[in-house]
């Protein structure tokens, strides 16, 4: 065990925990005043829920001794045997329990990312049931495939530095499915101004800060790989923020604050699978590409298709994630992370990335579709019109974000 590595992964785990409150504010600032708490509540509920689920059985399902490459066994349920000693197959220099905790934070933020898609119209009880099922039946298996010891996608040689396939692609695709199935918000004809854009910016700042833990922490050590991931993360975010800004200027005469923070989040998403595998200059390319593609998705494609992905989870996380996963297969360099991508002479890697991403998309979409319908039948997922116009804060939580007169 190495104290330096442990110190960095401890700090990283705390940083990734902070991302979910950051995300809560990033999303919370964008909705209307009457729904701000519902977004925060969903995020905090997920922190609490998954923290327990993971300790009780989630970690074991995702990372426990494999059952045929498909799912982990329950051998580690309740963290039995997951203690201070390192488990070398995952991380040889830090306590096994720390690896577990670090992964927990990923399991928390993935469903949290979806919240933006069905914001302002989901029933809290339906949300709860959906999330419990989704985390267990979709997230945990997929995590096992890509990251678990013996997982079949891992065995294929998929590159996914910090979970760009598992986390944003999955969240983005599931978000799209739910957004389409739950239907459009009532009476929203045009985008509504964010009720508190500074909150959104605060959230973006915390996300950027926390993402260093997400990506550089994924090296699971305080070493050159962590540093490399740190630098590519920062670089891609910056490039994507600027890319969005330039496109905003080009198409709308002026750069916007929301554009910059949206862009930078797209960049963070896209660099995630690639962080430890690519050079800083490739990170500029990936970031710029992510900014541009997500801009196009959100401004053009979404309008054309007409689904109501309230806060653009699919457009930013889904699309950015897919782009990043594929870009990893293009820009990876053996001298940096141990494997080459297409641009460095290894087309096979690109095909593997394509396959892994495809599998993720199909499995997530199908699973989410089934779960949604099941939960809708049993509990009901959408609030009724009265509750929606009144706002979810009052109707689902009997609270208001702010006082009007006090």
């Amino acid at each position: 065990m190495n104290a330096g590595d442990t110190a960095w992964v401890l700090a990283s785990t705390a940083l990734v925990l902070l991302m979910t409150p950051g995300l809560a504010f990033f999303y919370g600032g964008l909705v209307r005043k009457k729904n701000v708490l519902s977004v925060l509540m969903q995020c905090f509920f997920l922190i609490c829920l998954i923290s327990l689920q993971w300790v009780l059985f989630g970690y074991s399902l995702a990372f426990g001794p494999t059952r045929g490459g498909v799912i982990g066994g329950l051998d580690w349920a309740g963290l039995r045997g997951v203690g201070a000693a390192p488990f070398a197959d995952y991380a040889g220099t830090i306590p096994h329990q720390l690896f577990m905790a670090f992964q927990m934070m990923f399991a928390i933020i993935t469903p949290a990312l979806m919240i933006g898609a069905f914001a302002e119209r989901i029933r809290f009880s339906g949300f709860m049931v959906l999330m419990i099922l989704w985390s267990t039946l979709i997230y945990d298996p997929l995590a096992h495939w890509v990251w678990g010891n013996g997982g079949w996608l891992k065995n294929l040689g998929t590159l996914d530095f910090a979970g760009g396939t598992v986390v944003p692609v999955k969240a983005g695709v599931a978000a799209l499915v739910v957004a389409v199935l739950i239907g459009k918000r009532e009476g929203i004809r045009s985008p509504r101004s964010p009720h508190n854009l500074p909150f959104c910016v605060l959230g973006a700042g915390l996300l950027w800060f926390g993402w260093f833990g997400f990506n550089a922490g994924s090296a699971l050590a305080a070493n050159g790989s962590a540093v490399g991931a740190f630098v590519t993360t920062n670089t891609a975010a910056a490039a994507a923020g600027l890319a969005w800004m330039v496109l905003d200027w080009w198409f709308n005469e002026i750069p916007t604050m929301l554009g910059v923070v949206t862009g930078l989040v797209a960049g963070l998403v896209a660099i995630t699978p690639a962080a430890g595998f690519v050079s800083p200059l490739s990170a500029i390319a990936i970031g710029t590409g992510a900014g541009a593609i997500c801009f196009y998705m959100v401004t053009k494609v979404k309008a054309a298709l007409g689904y109501d992905d309230a806060l653009d989870v699919f457009g930013v996380h889904g699309v950015g994630g897919v782009f990043g996963a594929l870009a990893t297969g293009l820009f990876a360099e053996k001298s940096i992370g141990g494997a080459d991508g297409l641009f460095f002479g290894n087309p096979r890697q690109f095909l593997i990335q394509l396959l892994a991403t495809g599998v993720t998309i199909v499995f997530t979409a199908a699973g989410t579709y089934i779960l949604f319908n099941l939960v809708d039948l049993l509990v009901g997922i959408r609030v009724d019109v009265k509750e929606e116009t009144m706002g979810l804060d009052l109707s689902q939580h009997h609270e208001s974000g702010y006082t009007l007169v006090d």
Partner: protein, 113 residues
Amino acid sequence: MKYIIAIIRPHKLEDVKRELDIEEVHLMTVSEVVGCGRQKGVTRVYRGVKEVDNLMKKIKLEIAVNEAFVEKTIAAITRGARENETGDGKIFVIDLQECVRISSGERGGAAIG
């Protein structure tokens, strides 16, 4: 000239504006208020303690119009704001003696629109 004050449900603002536009009433002043009416209030919970709050969020419109527009305006607001339930709101009509457009100094009916 009349000064019309309407209190409506917050989410009805767009509908009311659309109806007013149809009647060619484009000018108005809008603000957020809280209203205490016949409508049963909302339940609030604060750290496990429940209570009823009878101040509900509403939108207030103020519209100055010439006499000819009074009934049209009332009708348009009613169309846009109605859900046929307690809490839909009220319209108040007050006599307006003078109206001045600051930019031009125009007065009376000419200044109103």
